[in-house]
């Protein structure tokens, strides 16, 4: 077709076009452009087709050949062209129109952005997306998480050039997530020293695995994003504004491992074996599964009803409400079947609280010590020493502590070889005991409370003091005084006044009649040994006031055990002679603890409950089995609910199998030392391993948790933020 085109149309022969000019002739689209074209300002310049020139005396047409050549009419007589051009309305060229559109769109975008930033609800508009459902209820607006959140556009520009004003972004996160306030931004929210210790332990114990190639490259190129001493921003792992259903904790396994010194490919390839997990420490209750199932539950002495109630796994262990941990049911549900009688053992005389020691009345001057019961038939079991609880109260009296130090190694029942000084100390010893009883009888709880406060120290909680003091039976004190020291009031007042005592009446024989002014409860208090199965009673055979526990979880015994445990038990119970009063009281308190903490002691508390030593040198008695707290987060998590599919024991035994070839004897030698020393004392080291169960095998978990099957990512079983360390315990792996 090119051949058919006229010359003025063909691209290589037509007039040169200037499409980059701003304006074009308004008739261009009609193909009737004028030769002049519009001006630079878009004005039509059309006038006439030519400008005639004068030749001699004639006007000659000057129209170009390309426009048709000389016209037949020729110029007018006045020299004007006879062919005027009709003016047009110039239009913009394509390029110019594009430029205008570009400027318009640019202005629209700029204006739109500025308007968007200036609107009152701009935070909703500039937000990169909806928050997750966890954060969507925050009503403080952007400022809750962004320091510049409520600023203007100028503030935003300033903050983007310099650093954001105010608190760091992650610090704002911690304003709400206060549980991570202390070390929240450190790796694993852990104290750097704790984490360094864990790292060292794991690094030395585990062989190096084969890391994924990408992870190796990333570690080589970039290194770890943070070490134990450096903070890691929350946003490094938690990405917000991705919608209400987005996960804030989604991480890949490689991201989890980028800080770790021992990376590996996957759970099934390279993950270390579990070691002793989950039996990383002994249980909080001393319960030997092997001996219970191996011998106790099969003991022919069990009654028929007891045999019927031999528990399986699910009778003792139930899921917590969250379905995570298996917790132990209460004492009354299971243990009481066999162990209630041991606690309420009425064949045991109970805990002696007050007891009058045997004195050598032949040697001591009766006019100096006053009335004191002599050993008659009913007093045959009386001891030559005071019980630990009474010693603790007496040591709050400085005179007693002084006398006791001078009587070290002296038998009070035989003072025939004692020196005068020791005899005087014995007299002081006696008057301290009488003072204790006198104060309790005449002044009630107040003096006793003062002594307890001195004895237990400032750490004693008010509730603990209330449990101890409130249960001391003042009527029993009065009854004991009436029975064994009937003239105590007159004697003690005379002694206080420095008057000479008269020869005391005949010593009480322990079978004195019940005083008529005793409290109403005295009848039961003074009843015979076996008639009072729990609570307080007087025991004539050893001149003692005793206590039998009132069932499981007895508050009185528990309060004393807690008080004694707090001071620790590492040193001996007795203070060295001449020690300070504080040391003396501490030693007495330890003595109390030792007397109550033996597994065979009254109440059998420590037969099952364990005591863990703590970093402060004290001991904490574990009164409860493990109670998982919602805020408790360890390195490892495990939900029992989806794993226990078969009902009954079959759901537990695949993972928690008793050690093979274990029998009661083997268990005794293996399991008992975890809780008790060779001498029967408490083992307070909590890190002993539970020896009942065979360790878990990783292969067993990996049989389901593998690629293409159940999830096998790091976060399936591990937490990143660890919180258990904040409560004074070391984080569990």
């Amino acid at each position: 077709m090119s051949a058919e085109l006229p010359p003025d149309v063909r691209f290589d022969e037509s007039r040169y076009e200037r499409p980059n000019q701003e304006w074009v002739c308004g008739r261009a689209c009609e193909g009737q452009t004028c030769p002049l074209g519009p001006s630079e300002r878009g004005e039509c310049q059309a006038a006439y087709e030519c400008t005639p020139y004068r030749k001699d005396d004639r006007w000659v047409c000057a129209r170009l050949a390309s426009r048709g050549g000389k016209c037949p009419s020729g110029p007018l007589p006045d020299g004007a062209c006879c062919r005027p051009i009709i003016p047009c309305r110039p239009v913009r060229s394509v390029l110019a129109r594009r430029r205008v559109v570009t400027l318009f769109v640019f202005a629209l975008a700029l204006g739109g952005a500025l308007v968007l930033a200036g609107l009152p609800k701009r935070r909703n508009l500039v937000s990169p997306g909806p928050l997750t459902s966890h954060h969507s209820a925050i009503d403080k607006g952007c400022a809750a998480c962004h320091a510049i959140g409520e600023g203007t556009l100028a503030d935003w520009v300033h903050a983007s050039v310099v650093s954001a004003p105010g608190a760091d972004q992650s610090e704002l996160c911690l304003d709400c997530h206060r549980q991570y306030r202390q070390h929240g931004l450190n790796p694993h929210s852990q104290d750097p020293q704790v984490l360094a210790a864990i790292t060292q332990r794991v690094s030395s114990a585990e062989p190096s695995g084969t890391a994924p190639f990408l992870l190796s490259v990333a570690r080589f190129a970039m290194g770890a994003p943070a070490d134990a001493n450096h903070a890691l921003a929350c946003a490094a792992c938690h990405n917000e504004h991705r919608g209400s259903d987005a996960s804030l904790t989604a991480m890949t396994d490689m991201q989890c491992q980028v800080c770790h010194d021992r990376p590996f490919r996957s759970f099934s390839q390279g993950h270390p074996e579990f070691g002793h997990y989950p039996y990383l420490r002994r249980t909080l209750l001393y319960f030997d599964h092997v001996s219970h199932y191996g011998s106790h539950f099969t003991d022919p002495r069990l009654s028929a009803s007891q045999k019927d109630r031999v528990p399986g796994c699910r009778e003792c262990h139930v899921q917590d409400p969250a379905g995570q941990a298996m917790v132990v049911r209460g004492f009354d549900t299971v243990c009481a079947i066999c162990h209630r009688e041991q606690i309420e053992d009425d064949t045991s005389p109970g805990v002696p609280f007050l007891a009058l020691p045997i004195l050598d009345l032949k040697t001591l001057d009766a006019t100096r010590i006053g009335q004191w019961p002599a050993v008659f038939d009913k007093h045959l079991l009386a001891a030559a020493d005071v019980p630990p609880l009474m010693r603790l109260l007496l040591r709050a009296d400085p005179e007693f502590a002084e006398a006791e130090s001078q009587l070290a190694g002296v038998d009070l029942s035989d003072l025939s070889q004692a020196s005068e000084r020791q005899k005087q100390a014995a007299e002081s010893y006696v008057w301290s005991i009488k003072k204790l009883i006198y104060e309790a009888v005449t002044d009630g709880q107040a003096p006793l409370r003062q002594r307890f406060v001195l004895a237990l120290g400032s750490k004693a909680a008010k509730t603990e003091l209330d449990d101890i003091v409130g249960q001391v039976p003042l009527p029993a004190f009065a009854a004991a005084q009436q029975r064994w020291l009937p003239d105590l009031k007159s004697e003690f007042e005379a002694h206080q006044d420095g008057r000479q005592l008269s020869l005391p009446r005949a010593a009480p024989k322990g079978d004195a009649e019940t005083p008529k002014d005793a409290a109403p409860a005295r009848e039961s208090v003074l009843a015979g040994d076996r008639s009072v199965t729990s609570g307080w009673y007087l025991r004539d055979v050893d001149l003692s006031l005793r206590y039998r526990p009132v069932g499981h979880a007895d508050r009185f015994l528990r309060a004393w055990l807690d008080a004694g445990a707090r001071v620790g038990q590492s040193s001996s119970a007795d203070a060295a002679p001449g020690s300070s009063p504080g040391t003396s009281l501490t030693a007495a308190l330890k003595g109390v603890f030792h007397s109550l903490a033996r597994p065979s002691a009254v109440g059998r508390c420590m037969k099952c409950h364990t005591a863990d030593s703590d970093a402060a040198g004290g001991t904490t008695i574990r009164w409860l089995s493990r109670q998982p707290a919602l805020e408790d987060r360890n390195f490892t998590k495990f939900s029992h609910r989806p794993h226990i599919t078969p009902p009954g024991n079959d759901g537990c035994l695949p993972c928690h199998s008793l050690k093979e070839a274990s029998d009661s004897a083997a268990s005794w030698s293996l399991f008992r030392p975890v809780f008790l020393g060779a001498d029967g004392s408490l083992n307070t080291n909590p890190h002993g391993l539970d020896g009942n169960f065979a360790p878990l095998s990783k292969a067993q978990c990996a049989s389901c948790h593998a690629p293409g099957a159940a999830r096998d990512g790091c976060l399936t079983c591990h937490n990143y933020h660890i919180l258990s360390g904040r409560r004074g315990t070391s984080p569990r792996p």
Binding site: L5, F11, G31, V126, H146, G151, A159, S160, Q169, L214
Partner: protein, 274 residues
């Protein structure tokens, strides 16, 4: 001298290598918990600026900034790289904030118009050489008017000589609208001949009503119809090659505005530790 294909293969290899490098860097940064969107964002911003500079370069032909052809090659491959970086930057998800959605839509519009323009420049240029004459876009109206006048003169001469109105009726009803302005724009882009065929068949069907002189004129008119249709074909393709830039260029500047705004927001709201 390198052929077009060899140059394209070389450029694609370079593009693939750089793309792999960027993907690897993104993955490594992501694995290292190092905010890969910062790197991808800044590279993307730089690329968009570089791409926008191509338009500036065309306005400064007198400066020794390299040939326009070289700039076009850089523009094409940098644009494709920008698409990859955009996908990496948004982490393969659709933004759901108002501002970010606008920004993303702008980028998608610019990228899509660029890709459409690239495809058109490759396909349409070839088409322009296969049909019709090579007419300068600005001269198309001239030729179109000339054809219109020729047809009008043929009809008028028949009307005067034969006194029959058959041809003039056909002219008024079908030919005049056809020759007045470009027609069948989209059908030409779709390479459709249906409209041209239909009109020619219609012209042919009128021959039985015409005398010999009119038949001769009608044949000449049919030739003009073919020429006009070829001219429309040229117009449709050349106009497309010009007007797609009405979307691509203005949206690029709007995109730049929103990118700057986006950078301000990101750095203002991310805080120090991020």
């Amino acid at each position: 001298m390198k052929t077009f294909d060899s140059r394209r293969r070389r450029n694609i290899r370079i593009l693939a290598a750089v793309a792999l490098l960027l993907i690897a860097a993104d993955v490594i940064l992501s694995v290292s918990l190092r905010a890969p969107h910062v790197l991808s964002g800044w590279i993307l911003f730089s690329l968009v600026v570089l791409l926008a500079l191509y338009n500036v370069r065309k306005k400064l032909p007198f400066l020794p900034l390299g040939s326009s052809s070289a700039w076009l090659q850089v523009h094409i491959y940098a644009g494709l790289l920008a698409v990859l970086l955009f996908v990496l930057h948004v982490r393969w998800r659709i933004p759901n904030g108002v501002f970010e959605s606008i920004l993303a839509l702008l980028f998608v519009a610019v990228a899509a118009s660029g890709i459409v323009g690239l495809i058109m420049s490759r396909i349409f240029a070839r088409r322009l050489t296969t049909r019709g004459a090579e007419v300068i876009y600005e001269r198309i109206p001239v030729f179109q008017r000339r054809l219109h006048l020729e047809v009008e003169q043929l009809v008028m001469s028949c009307l005067a000589d034969a006194g029959s109105t058959a041809l003039s009726h056909l002219y008024l009803a079908r030919l005049k609208p056809f020759f007045e302005k470009p027609r069948n724009f989209w059908q030409h882009l779709m390479q459709s001949h249906r409209a041209r065929h239909r009109l020619l068949v219609e012209i042919e069907s009128h021959e039985r009503y015409l005398n010999d002189a009119e038949k001769k004129a009608m044949r000449e008119i049919a030739d003009r119809v073919r020429a006009k249709d070829d001219l429309d074909y040229q117009y449709a393709h050349q106009a497309s090659l010009k007007y797609w830039l009405f979307a691509h260029v203005p949206l690029t500047y709007a995109l730049l505005v929103f990118i700057v705004f986006h950078v301000v927001l990101v750095y203002a709201f991310s805080g120090d530790l991020n």
